[in-house]
């Protein structure tokens, strides 16, 4: 397009500038999204072919809503990058729990990811506070260099953690003594404390605390951030139970428990504002927008209906600006409520289902 600068560096600067604004209009969001789409269409062969199969190109796409979203499974098989993969500063990979292959997301530099994450974390988790002492229930970035969550937590601890912040878990697992000591100290100081990590790490920590008969009352202003969710359990039961244990074992009210929803394939995260209610809605900053679509037709569902989430993340300037998740949700108050995910459903008949077949194939 005439006059539009599609070089990667200039674009990433534009995205950084966009993130730095206070808010965004629909038209400003569209303009940025379309510039990124044109750049990716131009500079990524796999993505271009994918778009052309869908009959979409920068010529015909006029709004962020029309950018063909790339299914997250495509990150496993296609190289979705506008730069040579080996030149990327960092590659984040999915855990590869199903199907074996791991999805890859290439970051030429981490400048955009970091700016997006830090600005959003400050707004949604720090809530006006500059620093807080943190305990991290996840391995370090050095231990897991391809984990976007490890990097995310390193950013959180580095930018917002008070000097005594520490990791309470290593690659081998939870360090009970470390955890119990950290919680004892935190409770004794009277200073607010933050515990952050993967949902399953919390579940594990709770089990250990119960086994050891430990209960804590963390000081007022303390908070918790978990992410990742529960696999293979009913969400309704699991979330209520989970935040109930936060309260009984840590003394942190569910309203101070924030759940972060992020993905390796995104460069921006979503947060809720506490879990004192079931189905707390999630929302993101002004540089990410979400559509809820019928997964089979790809069309937006009517208001108030369930569908799968399609995110248009302007911070994804190098990979794919729009991605199609496998997460089921419903629109709610400017954001969405997560309801489940593909693969949670049971086989209907006596024909083997994809998940069971893959499970058996892996042996």
């Amino acid at each position: 397009m005439p006059g539009r600068d599609v070089s990667g560096t200039a674009l990433s600067d534009q995205v950084l500038d966009f993130i730095g604004r206070d808010s965004s209009t629909e038209s400003a969001f569209d303009a940025m999204a379309l510039a990124l789409f044109a750049h990716q269409f131009e500079n990524n062969e796999s993505f271009r072919r994918f778009c052309l199969k869908k009959g979409r190109s920068p010529r015909v796409v006029t709004s962020w809503r029309e950018i063909p979203p790339v299914p997250i499974s495509a990150f496993k098989t296609l190289t979705l990058s506008c730069v040579a993969p080996e030149s990327a500063e960092r590659v984040f990979m999915t855990s590869g729990t199903t199907g074996g292959a791991r999805g890859r997301c290439y970051h030429p530099t981490l400048a955009v990811y970091d700016r997006s994450t830090i600005a959003n974390f400050r707004e949604r988790f720090m809530r006006g506070r500059d620093r807080i002492r943190m305990g991290i229930l996840f391995p370090t970035e050095e231990e897991m260099p391809n984990s976007s969550l490890a990097h995310y937590l390193a950013l959180a601890a580095g930018h917002f953690g008070a000097p005594d912040s520490e990791y309470l878990l290593n690659q081998k697992g939870l360090e009970n003594d470390l955890l119990f000591r950290a919680l004892d100290e935190a409770a004794a100081t009277g200073e607010p404390y933050a515990l952050l990590g993967a949902t399953y790490s919390f579940v594990h920590a709770f089990d250990e605390m119960e086994r050891a008969g430990k209960r804590y009352r963390l000081p007022p202003g303390s908070r918790v951030l978990d992410t990742g969710g529960f696999k293979g359990r009913s969400r309704d039961v699991a979330t209520g139970e989970f935040y109930g244990r936060m309260e009984t074992l840590l003394g942190v009210a569910p309203s101070e428990c924030i759940n972060m929803y992020g993905m390796t394939e995104l460069s921006t995260q979503f947060y809720d504002d506490g879990n004192d209610r079931a189905d707390a809605p999630k929302s993101g900053p002004h540089w990410i927008r979400t559509r809820i679509v019928n997964p089979l037709s790809g069309a937006d569902v009517p208001d108030g209906e369930q569908g799968i989430l399609v995110h248009c993340d302007l911070a994804n300037y190098n990979s794919a600006v729009a991605i199609m998740t496998e997460d089921v949700g419903i629109a709610c108050g400017g954001g969405f409520v997560l309801l489940g995910r593909a693969g949670d459903e049971e086989a209907q008949g006596c024909s083997v289902a994809v998940a069971e077949f893959l499970e058996a194939a892996r042996g």
């Binding site: 994918f50 296609l78 997964p295 309801l339 086989a347 008949g349």
Partner: protein, 500 residues
Amino acid sequence: MLGGGRRIPGGGEGVAAVAELAGHLPGLPAESVARETLRFSAWGRCAEVAAPVLSGDQLTALAAHVRRSRERFLAGLRTQEIVDILDRAVRTLLDRSDPRRRRAEELLPAVTGYDPETVRLGLTACLKTFRGAQLSAFVAEDFANPQMLDGFQPLRKGGYGRAFGPALIAHVWAGNVPGLPLWSLVSGLLVKSANIGKLPSAEPLMAGWFAGAVADIEPRLADCIGIVWWKGGDEVRQQALLDQAGLVLAYGGNATLERIRARVPVATRFLPFGHKLGFGMIAAAALDADKAAGVARRAALDIVRYDQHGCYSPHVFYVERGGAASPRVFASYLGGELAALSHRFPRRALDAEEAAGLAAARQEAEIRSAVSDSVEIAGDAEGAWRVVFADDDPGLAPAGANRTVKVAALDRLDDALPEIARHAPWLQTVGVAAAPEELFRLSALLGEAGASRVCALGEMTAPEAGWHHDGRFNLLDLVRIVEIERGAEAAAEDFAAYCD
């Protein structure tokens, strides 16, 4: 949450009728039975099912009751008498004016999600296999001399033999295809066993209606049938049943079957029926200009019936090159047929998670088609059906079902055999379109690879009466043969009053 039912995105809120009582509990006072309501909705209809929740004591009492009823009545019936009773019961259910049949046609679409026309035709096709003549075929298939079920019959090796079913058979059913429980329940009755079956939450009605129809004809036979329910994973109740049974038949996925197997007492026989993966093979000879369209139509029917959720349903069609219609043309015919059939038989309504799962399963092929010219995808905009055409890709795997099928073009059908054999534990039904010599040649290779049923296209979802389910015997696998040895008879001669 809807109990096993389908939440349809945007589905209308119909008016729920009076809850249908599920199960069949002879000997238990109705008012003593606790009920849990399962709610379903689809096709603008709602259904409420009041499923029975028995205590451990009630399960034990039910087992004692059906066992006693068997001793008093069923054990003394001749097989032909059982066939006659079942025949009359099945005929009432075949009659579309019968109240139970009307309830079935009304409720099962909401419960299973299958469209009303599929349910109606499916019920009739299934019930027809249990009429008298067909039941006799069941018996004759397994017993060269069916009188072995009624009394001692001479054996070829000498002596006499008689077949006895266990006093009580436990059935753990699964899935939402209406009528599947009837196969094992009818088999259990034919070998004169008392039966207690655990209903699947996805279709908790048909087995109870069947028992009710039997009760109208001969209550003493229905007294030998217990139909119960518990929420999947309720190991306490499950154990109460497993401990009572002389034989356990179970249906479901590998994980479910493994859990049950671990709970079955070691001396109790366990017959597991796992999930399966069907496919079709179409030889070049079946792709004549005037035949290809008909072949595609029959293949499409096999896909549409129960939306590929049956163990016999096809997920891949291997199509041989060299016929008048190329595999690619066949794939386009198949797409056309699926499009046409989607009007008369709309696909089962999917809830958001199922739709997301289906979309995810379909995406793999979609992504491959984006970067490779050897993969082509056809489907409608709404995602009601999907045909993936692939050149020289014999991969055999489910792709999400719900009318998602792969057409694989091969130079020779034999090229798929190594891949097919790799999946032996999943094999069962193969729909074949080929000339007679080729049918027999392929069948030998398919049998060697692990398949157990070769049928015509268009008949994959309707196995013949007396078929060998998973290659096994419906009745013979249930019984033990009691022998009177030749020597015993000879020795007895000495003790006869008329002995010289």
